[in-house]
């Protein structure tokens, strides 16, 4: 039998042009025993790592993978390109970078002239033309002249009727240009059954329906991968074309395994090797962490870690991260490592993480798994507002040609796929069921197809040499951001290093708190020096008094705290980890709580697992515990356990999940674990795949929980000001933060042109002065100018206009925010005075105070009107809660207040009403919506089951002021109202301002998914 290599294959990474995943194509190729298979996606190399690794991992590997690319030129012609060696590969990536970088995101602008500059050692194949147009002839002639010996022409038999004749015609033309021939099948899918999906994606691409598509679809399903036997039959008359496939494959001896990633040089202290440098830095760091002398245990652990690092040559990676962290610290930017890095003492010593892993009893091996040959992954959080400084520093230090962001492949999700397929099928309510079923089936196949590349939130790849010789780069949506064509898993696969530079709002707030503490209380703190294990902090957390506290402020966390009753740091670690989709999906929360409350005996499924589960009372809560169960309990190898986690996390390993599940359950059964426990473990692993927290990560987060809670507990004024200045962040809007601070006896003073800075500040006696940044629509430039020019104070609005150069609009905003209190001007009077100013007042005129105004008395506003205006201008009010004005009306309707709920017995039916603060639809309870409403006495939580929110859809989704009749439910201190009926009472708000025709309270709820 003849050997055959398929050289023209488009996968679904040629977005909407191929209908198979690269894995499917590679599996089919291997099964058919193809000599080799190339992936030639259009102007992209995004899919090659996936294809390469699929074949590499094959147990019985018969087929070689060729890197290739289809270059689609701007003039409509195409050319297939295959690098024959590493250097040529680098030229191809540079060529693609060139085309991508000068085009808008997602496009590529290339011409044949560009290729000529990068053509050395590339092999080219001209795609088979369906019609010999003038342009096609010219293109072939130009290619023949440019590439001579490195060019073939593809022959493709598409069963169009006159194939024999046509192939002969094209071949003759090729012969006239001395271009040799090669057989291809121009593959778009691995199996003819995918023709339907191929038609659907073509329609999506062409933005048409199936009925309209016409000749844009192929006439038949011939463009699937075909076994060598069939190809030999088809091209029986052209044996040289078949032989050429193998010749070309042999010529292209480049493999992705040849890519050598090299760490940047400048991270290493000159004169030292990377390892020596790391060792020196780690020991120096250790002396800083343990001023009273480094404990023996720590030294031993450092030695141990260094040994593993040396074995795997990871030292430069640690140094790179350390360099970035060092930079951030030198600029006063707070940062903290998260994720599994927290397992490493060296990371702790280098200041990358802040929690002592030895004190927490963590093991380094969980960080660098001995079995996995994969680089470690250190993610670092920076203050969200200053992350950009860090990113710019990286670009500056290493240069734009050496640092790039990782891509994230955005896949088709159910919703999007459904929308697109419905459009293509023109689905309506009247569509017959069989057709609907057909469409739905195709939609399911489409789910998981890559849709486009997007930028990863912060994963940087930094190389020693030029990055564009390693991987094509392209533009991101954000200006000046460059993205590589590979995503995280691809990078891992090739052993490249990535540093995650992430942003975290709470770090900004904590840094601001530290600054305020230093300025106003003369106390200096760092993340590590906050007093540990303060009982007052835990007491506060147990009361669920956590508005504003990192992570544990959400509704779900708040209801967990009184039950979990945290007493020490490790309890916070559990608190952080337990309210996650993993444990909830695995139904691990209740068993844990019961055991903790002593209602259930702590038992372990087996003595082997006791070691794993001891810390968490026999209930797996952390990601690595779930993996350990797979390893110890179900006899998975560490590699397999990791594959299991990954296959659940992404769409990369299509179709392997159910077989892994079988294996898991079978393994557990063999080791004598109850089936029910095994099933629960598996569903927890499923949850972990996407959202799980490893223990070290939970520790890093718990550290921030503790620090923020400590600040809130002891300095609520500082905490409030810092949070207000770090908005937008967290769960609560400024209105709730301010309300909470007032409940903690912090005086909040209104915005005032003579007292406020741009940011919110502290004033004597634990008071917070709201800053000008709270004034909606006031430009920062104007606000800061006002503060800078204030001197001994302003006496009139026009003085502000004159001295600070603020225009009418700015003063108008300030007046609306009622910021002229110190000038004894009410909101309306201030507005009146501001409204006479021009937008751009010439300073001289302003001084002259143009004309004497007659005294004008404006109608005075009622308090409820003022409240409305406060909300409109600043999003909060320091006066009364809007609902207090409606209370008499609400009483008449027998509405229960939030505070009365606390004394209402469970099971009673109540009517509650309030402004909607949040709507939440947790991942773990998709059918349920949680709504938090607020009245003047406090907040109440509503649970809305599916049948209820479907019935009252409009009210549930759109009401600003919502009323609900439902049943009280109480669990410990946690109170919920389970909704039965819901009404939208937004119209009631018009009573706040009888003169206003279109009165609407401008309160925005924050809706979370």
């Amino acid at each position: 039998m003849r050997e055959y290599a398929e050289l023209q294959v488009s996968s679904n990474f040629s977005f909407l042009r191929g209908a198979s995943h690269p894995q499917e194509l590679m599996n089919a190729a291997n099964e058919y025993g193809l000599y080799a298979i190339a992936l030639t996606d259009r102007n992209t190399l995004s899919g090659i790592v996936l294809a390469h690794s699929t074949l590499k991992k094959m147990k019985e590997r018969r087929t070689r993978f060729l890197v290739g690319c289809r270059l689609d030129f701007t003039n409509g012609e195409s050319l297939l390109c295959y690098p024959t060696n590493r250097k040529a590969y680098g030229r191809l990536t540079q060529l693609l970078t060139l085309g991508r970088r000068r085009a808008p995101k997602g496009e590529c602008l290339l011409g044949l002239d560009d290729v000529a500059d990068y053509a050395e050692d590339q092999h080219f194949v001209l795609p088979f033309p369906q019609v010999l147009t003038e342009s096609a002839r010219t293109h072939m002639e130009r290619c023949a002249n440019l590439f001579r010996r490195n060019l073939h022409l593809a022959l493709t038999h598409s069963c169009r009727g006159d194939d024999k004749q046509w192939i002969r015609t094209v071949a003759e033309f090729a012969r006239s240009l001395f271009i040799p021939l090669v057989a291809t099948n121009d593959v778009l899918y691995h199996d003819p059954d995918r023709k339907m999906l191929q038609d659907v994606v073509t329609c999506i691409l062409e933005k048409c329906t199936l009925a309209e598509a016409g000749f844009r679809l192929d006439a038949n399903a011939e463009r699937h991968l075909k076994p060598p036997r069939i190809m030999a039959q088809i091209f029986a008359a052209w044996p040289e074309a078949l032989e050429a496939t193998v010749e070309i494959a042999d010529r292209c001896c480049f493999s992705l395994d040849e890519l050598r990633y090299e760490y940047p040089e400048e991270i290493i202290t000159p004169g030292l090797s990377a390892f020596e440098d790391l060792k020196a830095r780690a020991l120096e760091g250790a002396r800083g962490r343990y001023p009273e002398g480094v404990p023996e245990e720590v030294l031993k652990q450092i030695e141990h870690e260094l040994k593993l690092i040396a074995e795997r040559e990871y030292a430069p990676y640690f140094l790179t991260v350390h360099e970035i962290v060092k930079f951030a610290k030198s600029k006063g930017i707070l940062c903290q490592g998260r994720g599994s890095a927290g397992n490493s003492v060296i990371c702790y010593c280098l200041g990358i993480t802040e929690a002592d892993p030895i004190a927490c009893g963590l093991l380094f091996e969980r960080f660098i798994s001995a079995a996995r040959n994969e680089p470690p992954d250190i993610d670092v959080d920076f203050e969200h507002e200053r992350r950009e400084e860090v990113i710019q520093h990286i670009y500056e230090k290493y240069g734009r040609d050496r640092a790039g962001l990782t891509a994230t492949v955005v896949h088709y999700r159910m919703k999007r796929a459904l929308r697109e397929v419905s459009k293509v099928f023109e689905l309506t309510n009247k569509t017959p069921p069989e057709r609907r079923k057909l469409a739905l089936g195709l939609m399911e196949e489409l789910v998981g197809f890559p849709r486009h590349l997007s930028q990863h939130v912060g994963g940087f790849v930094i190389a020693r040499g030029r990055l564009d010789e390693l991987v094509p780069l392209e533009n991101a949506r954000m200006k000046d951001r460059i993205v590589i064509q590979w995503e995280k898993d691809d990078i891992d696969e090739l052993g490249m290093m990535k540093v995650d530079v992430l942003g975290l709002g709470m770090l900004s707030a904590i840094r601001r708190s530290f600054e305020l503490l230093e300025r106003h209380y003369g106390q200096t703190f760092t993340l590590a020096s906050i007093p540990h294990e303060d009982p007052a902090v835990y007491e506060m957390l147990q009361r669920a008094d956590t508005i504003g506290v990192f992570q544990v402020e959400s509704r779900a966390q708040q209801s967990m705290l009184p039950r979990l009753k945290p007493e020490r740091f490790y309890d916070l670690v559990i608190e952080v980890a337990i309210v996650r989709p993993g444990p909830i999906q695995g139904d691990m929360v209740h068993p844990y709580l019961k055991r903790r409350e002593g209602k259930e005996r702590v038992a372990y499924p087996s003595p082997e697992l006791k070691a794993v589960l001891k810390k968490t009372l026999g209930v797996p809560l952390f990601q690595e515990q779930a993996m350990q169960i797979a390893i110890i309990g179900a006899n998975f190898s560490p590699d397999e356990a990791d594959e299991l986690r990954r296959s659940l996390a992404t769409f990369r390993h299509v179709g392997t999940i159910s077989s892994l599940r079988e294996r898991f359950l079978e393994g557990m059964r063999k080791n004598g674990y109850p089936q029910e426990f095994a099933k629960r473990c598996f569903s927890q692993i499923e949850g972990f795949g996407t959202y799980g927290f490893p223990e070290a990560h939970a520790i890093s987060f718990a550290n921030l929980v503790y620090v923020s809670a400590w600040i809130k507990c002891h300095y609520p004024d500082v905490f409030c000001a810092a949070l207000l200045n770090s908005q937008p962040m967290g769960f609560y809007a400024p209105a709730q933060l301010v309300r909470d601070a007032r409940e903690h006896a912090v005086e909040i003073r209104p915005i005032d042109v003579n007292h406020s800075d741009w940011e919110s500040t502290l004033e004597p006696h634990h008071a917070v002065r709201l800053g000008l940044h709270m004034v909606s629509g006031l430009p920062e430039k104007d606000g800061r100018a006002l503060v800078a020019a204030r001197g001994s104070g302003y006496r009139t609005p026009s003085e502000i206009a004159r001295r600070a150069g603020c225009g009418r609009r700015a003063l108008d905003r300030l007046a609306q925010a009622d910021a002229f209190g110190s000038l004894a001007l009410g909101r309306r009077q201030a507005l009146w005075q501001a409204s006479v100013l021009d937008e751009k007042m010439p300073p001289l005129f302003a001084q002259a105070e143009l004309f004497e105004e007659p005294e004008v008395t404006l109608p005075s506003a009622t308090v409820s009107q003022e409240v409305l205006e406060d909300y409109r201008a600043t999003g909060l009010t320091l006066r009364a809660h809007p609902l207090s004005f409606l209370r008499s009306r609400l009483n008449a309707r027998r509405v229960t207040t939030a505070i009365e709920l606390k004394t209402t017995p469970p099971g009673k039916t109540v009517l509650v009403a309030g402004l909607v603060l949040f709507r939440q639809r947790p991942q773990t309870a998709k059918e349920t919506i949680f709504i938090t409403i607020e009245d003047e006495t406090g907040a109440a939580n509503l649970i809305v089951w599916k049948h209820v929110h479907e019935k009252y859809r409009d009210a549930v989704y759109h009401a600003k002021f919502l009323a609900c009749r439902g049943v009280m439910q109480r669990e410990g201190q946690v109170i919920h109202v389970v909704a039965r009926h819901i009404w939208d009472w937004s119209a009631q708000l018009k009573h706040l301002d009888p003169q206003q025709r279109a009165s609407m309270l401008p309160v925005r709820s924050r809706d979370f998914r």
Binding site: V131, C159, R160, D162, G214, A219, E222, R828, V836, F851
Partner: protein
């Protein structure tokens, strides 16, 4: 004499409908115009008594609009702007003279008909009624809100002149001739017709319009009418073409004692771009024009229902590749057919089952039978493989088909296919 304005407010009325209501309103007064997107203003000075006074007039107009399915509010006042405000914000609907101020004062500032942003600004200052606005010194108002507000106030309270430009319907395409003596021969009628057509066609050309339907009404001496109508498949304003179309109808007119008045009117209009005068006579558009003229003549003779156009559709499957459309429908572009996909000149529909023998199973056909007639295949080409168009509701009966073009020993050429279950069919005769 004080003027008298009637304002009608129809919330939510759509643009087209408003114009129709305005047209209809000229039963009340010729001085009528649309007023904003959802209102109508009428100057009813001196005509209220025709309807029994102001109250009954308002009632009449609202009742009739209600019957048309329109919700409406109306008001009558001395000034346009007062009537406007009353219709939208008022509690009373007829106000004259001094009483106006006390009615207007408590109204919201929006009743001044000022832009929404301005109204919002006033409200924020606590100035929410017209009375509150009037309390502010004019100088202060002018300094802050510019002239718009003052101008509006003046219109309302000082009765600044408010001219009303009545709305006129577009001129119809209509022309008439009255002849001195009765006309009874076809020859004479066509003279008059040519004259009328020339007038209409010139106007159509000026306005870039073409006629789809035209009617000639011929009034006899005794007052009875005979009509003939000409429809075209495409808009036209070609005098000769229209003359020819009418020519076929004129003979059918019953002149009896002769016609005295002729009215030619266009009842269906469509946009028609002006023509480019071409230098060369042989011009593809000309060709198309004569083809269209031919279609029209067939249509006039046979009835348009029986004249079809053939359109090539984008389908590889022969049974879907051609469709017949009525000639009167706007012509849709035919598909660009790929030259290498050869189709028979005559399709055998439905395909005829035939017996075919091949040398090897699945190989090329060597001979086949149509009935008893044996055809030896000398040449063949193929297969052209066509997948079923799986997304069609009724799908395809044959699954994937392999088509072959063959020539038999007599030189006849056929188009045959083998379906997915190996059965053979004759599907067409090739040239």
């Amino acid at each position: 004499m004080a003027r008298c304005f009637l304002s009608v407010y129809c919330p939510g009325i759509a643009g087209d409908r408003l114009i129709r209501v305005v047209e209809w309103c000229d039963r009340y007064s010729p001085l009528v115009a649309p007023d904003g997107p959802d209102g109508i203003i009428l100057d009813v000075t001196g005509c209220t008594h025709l309807f029994g006074g102001e109250g009954p007039l308002l009632l009449d107009i609202r009742r009739r609009l209600h019957r048309m399915g329109l919700e409406s509010y109306g008001a009558i006042a001395d000034a346009w702007s007062i009537a406007w405000a009353l219709a939208r914000f008022g509690r009373r609907f007829i106000v004259h003279g001094e009483a106006a101020a006390s009615v207007l004062d408590p109204m919201p500032v929006e009743a001044l008909r000022i832009p929404a942003e301005l109204a919002e600004e006033l409200r924020r200052l606590g100035i929410s009624t017209i009375a509150a606005v009037r309390k502010i010194p004019r100088r202060s108002l002018a300094a802050r809100f510019g002239s718009t507000l003052l101008w509006r106030l003046d219109r309302m309270f000082h009765q600044a002149e408010e001219p009303l430009t009545p709305w006129r319907p577009p001129a119809p395409y209509r022309a008439s001739r009255i002849s001195g003596e009765p006309v009874s021969t076809v020859q004479d009628v066509s003279y008059v017709l040519r004259d009328l057509l020339r007038e209409i066609c010139t106007r159509l050309e000026r306005d870039h319009l073409g006629s789809r339907r035209m009617e000639l009404a011929c009034y006899r001496l005794d007052g009875t009418v005979d009509r003939c109508e000409v429809r075209t498949s495409k808009p036209t304003r070609s005098l000769s073409h229209l003359m020819r179309l009418f020519g076929e109808k004129l003979a059918a007119l019953q002149s009896d004692f002769g016609f005295e008045t002729f009215v030619l009117s266009v009842s269906d209009l469509e946009a028609l771009a002006p023509e480019q005068l071409s230098l060369s006579q042989v011009d593809s558009t000309k060709e198309e024009e004569t083809f269209d003229a031919l279609v029209d003549r067939f249509g006039m003779r046979l009835g348009f229902g029986d004249v079809n156009r053939v359109r090539v559709c984008e389908s590889y499957l022969p049974e879907y590749a051609v469709e017949f459309r009525s000639a009167t429908e706007p012509a849709m572009a035919s598909a660009d057919w790929p030259p290498y996909r050869i189709r028979p000149i005559r399709l055998v529909q439905p395909p005829m089952r035939i017996e075919v023998s091949t040398l090897i199973p699945g190989g090329l056909p060597v001979q086949f039978f149509i009935g008893r007639q044996k055809h030896r295949i000398l040449r063949s080409e193929g297969p052209e493989r066509l997948a079923s168009e799986w997304w069609r509701e009724n799908g395809s009966r044959w699954g994937e088909r392999d088509y072959y073009r063959i020539e038999d020993d007599n030189g006849y050429r056929f188009w045959i296919f083998c379906d997915s279950s190996g059965r053979w069919f004759l599907h067409g005769h090739l040239a």
